[in-house]
Amino acid sequence: MAEILVVVDHLDGDVKKVTLELLTKARELGEASAVFFGEGFDKAKEKLAQFGAQRVYVAEGEEYTGYVVAPKAELLAKLVAEKAPAAVFVPSTAEGKEIAGRLAVKTDSGVITDAVDIAEGFVCEQSVFGGATVVHSRVAKGTPIITVRPNAIQPVAADGPAERVDVAVEVSAAAKAARIVDRVVQPRGGRPELTEASIVVSGGRGVGSAENFAVIEKLADSLGAAVGASRAATDAGWYPHQYQVGQTGKTVSPQLYIACGISGAIQHRAGMQTSKTIVAINKDPEAPIFELADFGVVGDLFKVVPQLTEEIEKRKG
């Protein structure tokens, strides 16, 4: 069966769920090989094996992590030349897309971004214009390079050896031109990752302050949900930017999205419109978010949200 390369998304060996989704899809369409950059393979191996990776190409070393994306694309280009894979799947994160873009140029291939599904012949489904239009597209030249949105594919476990194969490339000087001199990792706490979560509870300008986000967090914790925020809330410094949902924040597609004190501006909708179920709490009955809501409560979030949290806790017993 044709080999498909899957670029692993991880932080120090903690494998992100999107990787498991991509391995699942790769197994469906061919044979899954993972590509792992940086340190932490030993920690990652079990997960990659559980989701059916035949082998894992491991590229360790500072040359892959100390510079902005270009060295990773060089290593992948070498693998594409040597292994002639049927396709390369990359997580649709900011960095994943950049790797994919550079790889496309290097291998004279086409690239499809933000696929939500991939079918036989590597025909991709894209959900564009904020989810208003569904497009089927495919790469017409070279090796299909496809970035896939987190939370779009159901991960299914299957045993694989995840055999380690060390790989390396002579990284060019040009690829080392943008040096990472410092890395700041914001602690995330115990909540699920925003793009991976099956439930997201978001707060907007209506939350009013950083302290008040505790109300949102309590509801999120009662549901095992991730916390999101509108740009108004991140711009005001009430919640860190990584949690912004929307056009210039994360695109989320959870089973349930609860918007609290968010008006539903078009740029916010662009990042949450494809959620399966949408709930809104807003004191303004005219707020556009209600147009999307499967269930809406017109009211003060400081009354409705705590009551909801209490009710959920009560039902949990």
């Binding site: 902005v68 897309k97 004279d108 971004t113 208003a132 239009t133 070279g142 040009a174 740029q267 409560v297």
Partner: protein, 259 residues
């Protein structure tokens, strides 16, 4: 310091955007075109850097005739001149072709920095800045929420999934910016008047060595097979809180098996 800012004209996000059934490309003709929102931040950053360090800002846009309106608007914000790549052969270009065409034009210009927005609001691929850096063999400093010119080089704060990276490189370099970086200025009346006299050079593929058979719909590296509009979401139940809003919501969530 010579700065080029790449600006894409896109359909207004507030309008109804469509693909045209004839050739499955974006219908740009029937909607109002505006500057891609993220590119306004790129223009602003270019203007601020030129103001702080001396120099000039050139706007580069590839697009149909009417993209010249967006170049003119950027000039009214304060940019010095424009370059408009316009050629029917470019219609339907995908990201690979777009990056090839932009890189070809950039090779004919002198610059220390080329600044992009980090994403277009229509296609949202976010790949063009990295692709152009790849083609030009220049350092890529993308997703910047802060840009600083240091002695002979550049330093940015790169927004990441987990926080940020600090990235350094020499010049010339390719930068893309996120919307946290600044607050774009509005054109003033004086700026609008001045923009009318600023030079805009119009170029076709042949003039910058773009091989016409490497761009456009026919040459595309990726193709759209079909598309369909998804039915708009239906509004569900909206209740007004009368002291029991939270309870009603919990009932809804329980019925949907979320709790």
């Amino acid at each position: 310091m010579k700065i080029v800012v790449c600006v894409k004209q896109v359909p207004d996000t507030a309008s109804e955007r469509k693909l045209s059934p004839a050739d499955k490309t974006l219908d740009r003709a029937s909607v109002e075109g505006v500057i891609n929102e993220l590119d306004e931040y790129a223009i602003e950053e270019g203007l601020r850097l030129a103001e702080a360090h001396g120099g000039e800002v050139t706007i580069l846009s590839m697009g149909p005739d009417k993209a010249s309106e967006s170049i003119r608007k950027a000039l009214s914000m304060g940019a010095d001149k424009g370059v408009h790549l316009v050629d029917d052969a470019l219609h339907g270009s995908d990201a690979v072709a777009t990056s090839y065409a932009l890189a070809k034009v950039l090779q004919t210009l002198e610059f220390d920095l080329v600044i992009f927005g980090s994403e277009s609001t229509d296609a949202r691929t976010s790949v063009v800045p990295a692709m152009v850096a790849e083609r030009l063999g220049l350092p890529q400093l993308t997703y910047a929420n802060k840009v600083e010119i240091t002695g002979g080089g550049i330093k940015i704060q790169r927004q990441t999934e987990y926080g940020h990276d600090v990235v350094e490189a020499g010049l010339p370099a390719v930068v893309s910016v996120v919307e946290k970086i600044n607050e774009p200025r509005y054109p003033t009346f004086k700026g609008i008047m001045a923009a009318k006299k600023k030079p805009v050079q119009t170029l076709g593929c042949a003039e910058v060595g773009i091989e016409a058979d490497k761009v456009g719909l026919g040459a595309a590296w990726s193709v759209v097979e079909d598309f369909a509009d998804r039915p708009p979401r239906q509004q569900g139940t909206i209740v007004t809180d009368e002291g029991d809003g939270g309870v009603k919501l919990a009932e809804f969530l329980a019925a949907q098996k979320f709790i």
